[in-house]
C-alpha cells in the first residue's frame, strides 16, 4: 500500500496572527472574529490529523538572503529551528521533518523535470509556523512531521501559476509512489490580497479574493493561466503569494482524472494587520482507500 493525498489546506500566514497567538490576544475585538473562523478547522484537524504534511510557503528573507534565491526548495532535514526574524523566535515547537518521504518526493519530482533545490538545514519563519498555529493551536509539539516546500515569491520573476499547478501534480505523483500507507496533506499558504510597501500599502480587494477562492475550488486549470501582473495590480504586490495555493490545488485527485474535492471549510476575513485572510479545506471525495 502506498501513501495517498487525503486533503489540501489553504491559509494566509500573516505574522501578526502569530504575534496575537503568542501574546494571548486572540480574544481582543480585532482578533476574535479571525480566530473564530479557524475553530472549525482545528476540530477538523483533530479528526483528520495526517501522517505528514507537505507545507508550501515562502521564506521571507529568513533562510534565503539575496545570496541564493531558489525558485522551489524542498526541506529534507529531520528538524527545522524556528527562526528569529528580528522580533526573537516565536515561542512554538521546533518543526520535525520527514527525511525519508522528503527525499523520495525530491527524487520523484526532480525526475518529473522540476529542478528542486534540496535543503538540509534551514530555519523556518512565520510563513510556515503561522499556518501550523492556526490549524493546531498551541500544542507542546506539532502532531505530525512537516516537509517544507519553499517558493520564491520575494524577488521577481516568481514561478507562474501554471508551473505551480504542475508542481502540485508532480508532488501528488511522488506521494502516491511512496511505499508506505501514509495519509498526507498538502498545504498552500500566503495571500490573500495585501500590499506591504509604498504609498499603495494597505490595498485589499475582497472581490478578487472571492473570485480566486471560487475558481480555485471549481476551475483551477484556468486559474493557473492568470498572469502575474493581474495578481500584482488587483491583489497587491504581496498578493502574488497566492500562486503558491495552486501547488496544493494541483495535488488533488481531480487534476489527475479523479473526482472533485469537497469543501470542508471556507473562511474569509478582513483584516489581519495589513492583510485579507482567506482559508479553505478541500478533502478528497473519492471513496478509494489504499
Amino acid at each position: 500500500m502506498n501513501a495517498r493525498v487525503s486533503a489540501s489546506v489553504y491559509t494566509s500566514h500573516v505574522p501578526a496572527i502569530g504575534a496575537a497567538l503568542d501574546n494571548d490576544k486572540t480574544a481582543e475585538p480585532h482578533w476574535e472574529p479571525l480566530f473564530a473562523g479557524y475553530e472549525p478547522s482545528k476540530v477538523w484537524m483533530r479528526d483528520n490529523t495526517p501522517d505528514a504534511i507537505v507545507l508550501v510557503y515562502n521564506d521571507h528573507a529568513t533562510a534565503f538572503s539575496l545570496d541564493m534565491i531558489p525558485t522551489f526548495a524542498i526541506g529534507t532535514a529531520a528538524t527545522y529551528a524556528v527562526a528569529d526574524e528580528g522580533w526573537g523566535p516565536r515561542p512554538v515547537p521546533e518543526v520535525q521533518g520527514h527525511p525519508d518521504l522528503a527525499a523520495h518526493i525530491a527524487h520523484s519530482v526532480i525526475q518529473q523535470d522540476f529542478d528542486l533545490t534540496i535543503v538540509n538545514r534551514m530555519d523556518v519563519d512565520h510563513g510556515l509556523t503561522v499556518p501550523l498555529s492556526l490549524m493546531f493551536g498551541r500544542p507542546d509539539s506539532w502532531p505530525c512531521p512537516i516537509i517544507p516546500v519553499a517558493v520564491n515569491v520575494v524577488q521577481y520573476p516568481v514561478p507562474s501559476g501554471q508551473r505551480c499547478l504542475n508542481l502540485g501534480k508532480a508532488i501528488r505523483n511522488a506521494i502516491e509512489s511512496y511505499d508506505e500507507p501514509l495519509n498526507v496533506q498538502v498545504w498552500g499558504t500566503g495571500g490573500m490580497s495585501h500590499q506591504l510597501q509604498g504609498p499603495r500599502a494597505g490595498l485589499i480587494n475582497a472581490e478578487f479574493d472571492a473570485a480566486f477562492l471560487d475558481q480555485l475550488i471549481a476551475d483551477p486549470a484556468n486559474l493557473a493561466l492568470k498572469p502575474h501582473v493581474d495578481y500584482l495590480r488587483e491583489a497587491g504586490s504581496e498578493g502574488i503569494e497566492l500562486v503558491m495555493w495552486l501547488i496544493a490545488r494541483g495535488a488533488m485527485a481531480d487534476l489527475a482524472g479523479g473526482s472533485a474535492p469537497t469543501v470542508e471549510h471556507r473562511f474569509y476575513h478582513v483584516p489581519a494587520s495589513n492583510t485579507a485572510v482567506g482559508h479553505l479545506i478541500l478533502a478528497e471525495s473519492g471513496a478509494e482507500t489504499p
Binding site: P15, A16, A19, H30, H60, A61, T62, S65, L66, D67, A83, D84, E85, G86, W87, G88, V154, Q155, Y156, P157, S193, Q195, L196, Q197, G198, P199, R200, A201, G202, L203, I204, N205, A206, E207, F208, P227, H228, V229, L232, R233, E234, S237, E238, V270, P271, S273, N274, A276
Partner: protein, 129 residues
C-alpha cells in the same frame, strides 16, 4: 530584447525585480544581519558605525538612519528585508506599512479596520481616484 515589465504602471508600488535587487544588495544584506539579538543591540548602540561596516551608498545609510522606508525601497530595499529594521525598533508590520502611505498610524489602522485601501482608483498610474 529588454525584459518585459508590465507592472511599471501600478501606482505606489515598486516591484522587487532583478534591477532593484542589484541596487539594494548590501542594504538588504545589512538587514539580514539584524536577525540576531547581539547584532540588533550593537546596531542600536551606534547605528552610524554599524552601517559604515556595510558597502552601502551614503544615501542608503541615511535612509536607514531616517527610517524612511519609501526611500529605502526606491534604493533597492525589499520589505521583507527592511522589516528586520522595524523589528529591531519594536515596530509591527502594520506600523511599517502605514509609514509609507503618508497617513498617520491611527488613520492607517482605521483604514484597515474598515476594509483596507480600495482597489478602484488604484490600478493604474494617473487613474482618477
Amino acid at each position: 530584447m529588454a525584459i518585459d515589465k508590465p507592472y511599471l504602471d501600478i501606482p505606489g508600488t515598486t516591484v522587487f525585480d532583478a534591477a532593484q535587487s542589484l541596487k539594494g544588495y548590501w542594504l538588504n544584506q545589512f538587514c539580514m544581519s539584524l536577525m540576531t539579538a547581539d547584532n540588533r543591540a550593537r546596531f542600536l548602540r551606534d547605528e552610524r558605525a554599524y552601517l559604515d561596516e556595510w558597502e552601502m551608498s551614503e544615501v542608503q545609510r541615511q535612509s536607514v538612519l531616517d527610517r524612511d522606508m519609501n526611500v529605502m525601497i526606491a534604493l533597492g530595499g525589499n520589505i521583507y528585508f527592511l522589516a528586520k529594521i522595524g523589528a529591531t525598533d519594536g515596530k509591527s508590520f502594520q506600523q511599517m506599512a502605514g509609514s509609507m502611505t503618508g497617513m498617520s498610524e491611527d488613520e492607517y489602522k482605521a483604514m484597515m479596520a474598515s476594509g483596507g485601501r480600495p482597489i478602484d482608483g488604484n490600478r493604474y498610474v494617473g487613474e482618477a481616484q
